[in-house]
């Protein structure tokens, strides 16, 4: 395949941001279309370069095609929207119904989160699995909070090992997600600033004390409300087609929920903490697109190397 055609299809591939299996089919279909049109144009007497230029011109802007195909594929069904909103609803139920105190319910929710995340990950990573993946990071964080309470020798041994392992897991997850679409990474990380906000409120100084359960009970309705807002956001996200609407929705909902947290905790979170959380949220929104850009650049370098390698031999 010549460079212009290759470059054209590569722009489409980079901007499609759909399931990998579907992406492969779309590219293959367009490739066949280009070959058919080229053959016809060459039979009419055009040179290879002229035929290619005409063919790509007839197809139109690569980015516009990718955007339109994304919009055709992006809208999930109502079932997918419910499935994506479910982890948030489960967490809302944990607090609204006071289930968070029961080990049985906590274990069921943890098992559901981990089980669904693994299932979705190995079944084509559909968009609905990313909110579940975000919650699968909570058991990892909870494990980290338990470690300082272990005997001193044990914690000295396990903490560095835990941090390396947790960091590796989070980076792997982010890279794999950003490869598909950075927006899904943001979707996955959306609850994090809100959970951190609640945690700072409920466990000042990041220490779990005897008063913590009492505080959780006091704030339980508001915690449930913030998870409910997240659930509605995710359901709307899955049903929306346009990318800019999806980005706007995540930003507005994230900021709104964070503001609600600060409003309801009534002075327990100061302005600096709120500003810090906003910064964390912006960071979480900015890291995935930056990561995607880095990954795309490295893929281009690798492909260029792979493309020119045979001709150098």
């Amino acid at each position: 395949m010549t460079t212009a055609r290759h470059h054209y299809l590569e722009i489409i591939r980079e901007n499609l941001k759909i399931d990998l299996a579907e992406e492969k089919e779309v590219i293959s279909e367009l490739e066949t279309h280009i070959e058919d049109r080229l053959q016809e144009l060459k039979e009419r007497g055009l040179s290879e370069e002229e035929a290619e230029r005409t063919c790509l011109g007839l197809l139109g802007s690569a980015k516009a095609i990718a955007r339109q195909i994304y919009e055709a594929h992006s809208q999930g069904s109502w079932q997918q929207a419910s499935l994506a909103a479910m982890p948030h609803l489960l967490f809302a139920a944990l607090f609204a119904l006071n289930w968070w105190q029961h080990v049985g319910w906590l274990s069921i929710v943890t098992f559901m989160v981990i089980g669904t995340s693994i299932y979705g990950w190995w079944h084509g990573k559909p968009a609905w699995v990313f909110p579940w993946l975000g919650y699968s990071l909570i058991p990892v964080a909870a494990l980290g909070l338990i470690l300082p309470y272990l005997p001193r020798e044990w914690s000295l041994l396990t903490i560095p090992f835990y941090f390396l392992l947790a960091l590796w897991w989070i980076i792997c997850l982010l890279i794999q997600t950003a490869r598909r679409d950075w927006l899904l990474s943001s979707l996955m990380l959306l609850p994090m600033p809100i959970i951190v906000g609640w945690f700072i409120t409920l466990a000042p100084g990041l220490k779990i004390t005897a008063q913590t359960p009492e505080r959780i009970n006091y704030f339980a309705p508001w915690i449930a409300l913030s998870f409910l807002i997240l659930a509605l956001t995710i359901a709307a996200f899955i049903r929306l087609r346009q990318r800019w609407l999806r980005v706007s929705l995540l930003i507005i909902s994230g900021l709104l929920t964070l503001t609600l947290v600060v409003y309801y905790v009534g002075g327990r979170l100061n302005v600096q903490t709120f500003a810090g959380l906003i910064l964390v949220m912006w960071g979480l929104f900015l890291i995935p697109p930056l990561l995607e850009r880095v990954l795309r650049r490295s893929r281009r370098i690798w492909q260029r190397y792979a493309f020119f390698k045979p001709s150098q031999q």
Binding site: S28, E29, T32, E35, L58, G60, I65, Q68
Partner: protein, 111 residues
């Protein structure tokens, strides 16, 4: 020109369903058929055809199936589904009523 584009945009789904109903077709074939049968009136911007086909497929109106040709090249043929047939029947009736109504105004019956 804008009016013509709007007319084509509004009728593109019906045209695609109608063509695919006659026989399963692949993208390039659809473009050629549309151009030939309409004597050049319907000229799709080629890149817009595939998003339209994928949208119809997601709506369950058509179904894309890969077929391997004798030369080893794969092609994606689109087939009309039962839901697509039902939709096309409704749209046909609507179009016929619309055309009849427009004709009654443009060409008043001779009294």
């Amino acid at each position: 020109m804008v009016q013509k584009r709007e007319l084509i945009k509004g009728s593109s789904d019906s045209l695609l369903l109608c063509l695919i109903a006659q026989q399963p077709m692949y993208g390039y074939q659809i473009i050629k058929e549309l151009e030939t049968r309409s004597q050049g009136y319907f000229k799709f911007k080629e890149g817009t055809l595939y998003p339209a086909l994928h949208r119809l497929e997601r709506a369950g109106l058509i179904l894309g199936k890969w077929q391997l040709l004798s030369n080893g090249r794969p092609r994606r043929y689109y087939h009309l589904t039962a839901k697509g047939h039902a939709k096309l029947s409704t749209e046909r009736v609507q179009w016929q009523d619309f055309i009849k109504a427009v004709n009654m105004i443009l060409q008043p019956a001779e009294s």
